[in-house]
C-alpha cells in the first residue's frame, strides 16, 4: 500500500503493508535512523516520535494509522542541533550510550511544548514511558529544566521560533 506521510515538514510517499509500524517505515524505508528500536511492545520508549505534537511510540503506531498527522522525529527537532533540548542535553552531558536519548528528547520536547515550566512531577509522568538502560535519569531531569530555561531565555527564542515554524 502507498501512504503519503508528512515527516519533519516534508511529504513522503512510502510503500508498506498497513500493519508496518511507523518505526520501521522511518528506519528502513525513509532511512531516518535516529528513531530507535528497543522492545517493539511499547515498553521502552526508544522509538518515541511526535505525532501531531504528541509523543507516541512509533513501534505501536501502524503506518495506516498515521494519516495526515505531522510526524516529527529527532532529525526534525532542528536542522543544526539547536533545539533547546538538544542544547541542554549537550550542556548537561546527559547520554551514556545514547541509544535511548532520541526517544527521551522527543518526549521531553513534547512536554515542554505543552508545559513550558514543568515541575519534577510533570517530568516524572511525561518521561515514564522512556527507559534508560544506562540510568541517566538524573541528568535527563536536569536537562529538561535547563531546556525550559533556555527556551524562555532570549538566546534561544529565535531557535524556538524556527522550531515552531518547521512544525
Amino acid at each position: 500500500m502507498a501512504y503519503k506521510l508528512n515527516v519533519n515538514g516534508r511529504s513522503a510517499t512510502v510503500d508498506a503493508s498497513p500493519d508496518t509500524p511507523l518505526l520501521w517505515v522511518l528506519r528502513d524505508v525513509l532511512n531516518l535512523h535516529g528513531t530507535k528500536y528497543g522492545c517493539g511492545i511499547g515498553q521502552c520508549g526508544a522509538c518515541t516520535v511526535q505525532l501531531g505534537g504528541r509523543a507516541v511510540r512509533s513501534c505501536q503506531t501502524p503506518v495506516s494509522a498515521v494519516g495526515n498527522a505531522a510526524v516529527l522525529t529527532v532529525e526534525g527537532l532542528s536542522t543544526d542541533g539547536t533545539h533547546p533540548v538538544q542544547i541542554a542535553w549537550q550542556e548537561i552531558d546527559v547520554p551514556q550510550c545514547g541509544y535511548c536519548q532520541a526517544g527521551q528528547m522527543m518526549s521531553a520536547a513534547a512536554l515542554l511544548a505543552r508545559t513550558p515550566k514543568p515541575t519534577d512531577k510533570d517530568i516524572d509522568s511525561a518521561m515514564n514511558g522512556n527507559l534508560c538502560r544506562c540510568g541517566t535519569y538524573l541528568r535527563i531531569r536536569q536537562a529538561i529544566h535547563k531546556a525550559a530555561e533556555l527556551a524562555t531565555s532570549a538566546s534561544a527564542r529565535t531557535v524556538q521560533t524556527a522550531q515552531n515554524g518547521s512544525r
Partner: protein, 750 residues
Amino acid sequence: MAINRRSFLKVSAAGGGGLLLGLYTQPKASAQGRGGPAPAPPDPHVYVKINRDNTVTIMAKNPEVGQGVKTMLPMLIAEELDVDWKSVKIEQTDFDDTKYATQFAGGSLATPQNWVPMRQVGAAGRALMIKAAAQTWTVPESECSTSAGKVLHKASNRSLTYGELADKAWAMPMPDLKTLKFKDPAEYTIIGKPQRQRELPAIVKGEPIFGIDVTVPGMLFAVYQKCPVFGGKVANANLDEIKQMPGVRQAFVIDRPDITEPVLPNDPGLESGIAILADTWWQAQSARKKLQVTWNEGPRANDSQSSAVFAQRAQELSTQKPHKTIRADGDAEANLGSAAKVVEAAYSYPFISHAPLEPQNCTAHVKDGKCEIWTNSQIPQGGRGLVAKALEVPERDVTLHMVRGGGGFGRRLTNDYMVEAAYIAKTAGVPVKLLWAREDDMTHDYYRPGGFQFLKAGVDGSGKVVAWRNHFVSYGSFDAQKGDVRFANAAAMGPTEFPQRFVPNYALHTSVMELGIRTGALRAPSSNAFAFVIQSFIDELAHAAGKDPVQFRLDLLAAGGPAPQAAPGPFAAPGLNAERMKGVVQLVAEKSDWGKGDLPKGRAKGVAFHFSHQGYFAEVAEVSVDAAKKVKVHKVWVAADVGSQIINPSGAENIVQGAIIDGMSELMHQEITVEKGRVVETNYNQHGMVRMAQAPPEIEVHFLKTDNPPTGLGEPSLPPILPAVANAIFTASGTRVRSLPISKSGFSWA
C-alpha cells in the same frame, strides 16, 4: 609497557566471572613467549595525526558502548601531547591488533590498561615535536617547552606550531619510552576536568552512529530463529511458504554440530537455526511470525532444567556433603560451636539478562573469500576468531569496523550475533544486516548465573566475627571420581572472597548443578550477586551483635591485616586493601551523616561496601518502606577510591549514578526463569528496570583520591547498592530480604 593481548583473550575465552580479572593473575603468559605477534607499542604515529590547520586527530581504539572511553582515551593522549582539547578531533579505529593493543571493553580495564601507554603516546609525540623544533632552531631541547599545540623557545621568543613541525617530527626516530617524563598532575588542563562526550552532537541529532544504523548498499535484512532450547536443531520447517511472504528473498536452515560438553563454552560460536532475509527488517520479522518449525530440542529440554527444580535441588545439596571445599582457614565448625552468637541464613539470586537497549545486531559482507563486518562487539578479537573459524578463512581476511553500541554490560563480550551475521551473509551471497528482536535477545542471552548461598557465622562476646561458613550452590559439573568441580561461566567463587582473611575460621564449600543455558559476565560479574549476599549477611551479624552496622564493618576490616602481595606482572592486581576500604566506609558515613539525627518511622539508612575490579566502593541508601511494602529510595551517597585520578569527572559521575540505578533494577525487577531448558521472560514487561520516577532524586558521588594508580569504576560502583538498599529496608521495616528480586517478597517501588 608490554600489554599482553594473548593473555587477555585467553581470559575472555575462559569467560566472565571474576575471571575477566584473571588477566591479573596470568601476567606471564606472554604473547611473545608463545611465538605470537609482539604487542603493539604506544606509538604516536599510530594514534595521532597533526593536521595542517593545527587541529589534531586522535584515534580512539576501544569499543564504545556508553562507558565514555572514546572520549577518555584520547584525553590521556591529548594531555601529554600538550594540545588544546578544543583542537582535538576523535576518530574511531577499526579493529587492528597489529597497530593497537587491547581493543576491548570489559572488566573496568580500560583505565588500568591504558593509563600509562596512552599517556606515553602523547608524551612521545610531544618529545618528537620538541626534538624537531630544537633542531630547527639549533638550540638545546632543554630550552624548549610546549603549550597548547606549540613548541616555545622562550629565550628567543620563538614558537612553532605542531602543524608546522609535524612532517619533520614524525620522521624522527621514536624516543625511548623510558626517558619520557609525564606531566605533574597539577599542570593538567584536560585530565581531571569534566569533558563532555565527543559524540554528543551526533547523538542529539539522531545521526546513524550505532550498529543498528549501519547501511551497506544492496544489503538485505535478516532475522535468525533459533530453538528456544540451547543446541536444538531444525527437524523441519515451512520454508517454502515463508519464501512466498512479502519482501522475503531467502530463507534457509543452518545446521551445526552438537555441543556435548557438560559445561557450555563461553562463546560457542554459530548455533543452528533458520535465517530469513527480506527487503526490510519488518518483512523478515513478519515472515518469521508465520514460521512453523518442528524442533529437535535435544537433551537440555528436560524437567530438571527448570528454576523451581534448581531451587529445590540446591536446598537438598545444602544439607549434604559439599562437592568440594574451596577454602578452609582455621576450624569453622568448632568455632561455630563455641561462638557466643550464631546466625544462619539462606540467600539466593536468579539468572538475569543484560538486555542492553540496542538489541544485538551486526552487518556483514562476504565477497571473494574476504569478510567485512560492522560491529559493536565489546571484544572484537574474539568475534574475528569465531567468524574466521565458521567461514573457514584466515583471520587476516576478516575486517572489523567498530561501531558505537547502545549499551554493553557484558552482553557484547560474546560474539554469537557476529558469527551469525557473517555466516548468513556468506550463505546468502549479499551484504546482510542481522537484527535480533528483543525477544531473541532476552531468550538467547548469556545470563548472569543464579546461585544459592547457605551461610552460618558466629560472633564472640565482644562482637568479633570468629567463624564463617558458606555452602555455595552454583552451576557447573561435578566429577565425583576426581572430586573436582568445573563451574559454569561466571558462576565460580574464588578462595579469597570476602570476608576471607578477615575472619580467622573461614570455610567455603561448593556444590554444583548441571546447567543447559548459557551464562556469562554481567556488569560486575559475580560481585553483583555476592555483594548482596555477603553485605546483607554481615548486616545480620551486626544486628545480632548489637553493633552499629558501620562500626561493625570497620571492626571487621581492622581484623584482616595487610593486603597480600600482588603477583608480579604489568597488571598484577593486589587483593583487598583494608585501609582503602576503611577510607571509603568512613567517608560515606561522614557524607551521609550516618548515625546522626532521627529519621521518621519507616525510614532508615543502610550501608554496604564491596571491592571488585580494583575499585573500593561504599554506599549508603536512605529508604522508606510503608505498610504496603512500597519502597522509596530518597537518596544515595557513594564514596569511592579508584586511585589518584578521576580522568573525566563528568563521565565518572554519570557512570556511577547509572550503576546505582542499574543495581536497583536488579534488586527489584529482574529475574530470568528457566523452564524445561528454555527461558520464560521475553521482554522488558517481564524483566523490567527502574523508571525515572523510581530513581533516587539525588545520588551524591564522592571520590577519595589516594596515592594508587587509577583504576576503572563502571563495575565496582554497582554491587554495594543492592545490599545498601536491602539493609535499609530491614532497618525501616524489620523485614530481611534474602532472595532477589525483592518484588517476589511483595516489595514494589512507591
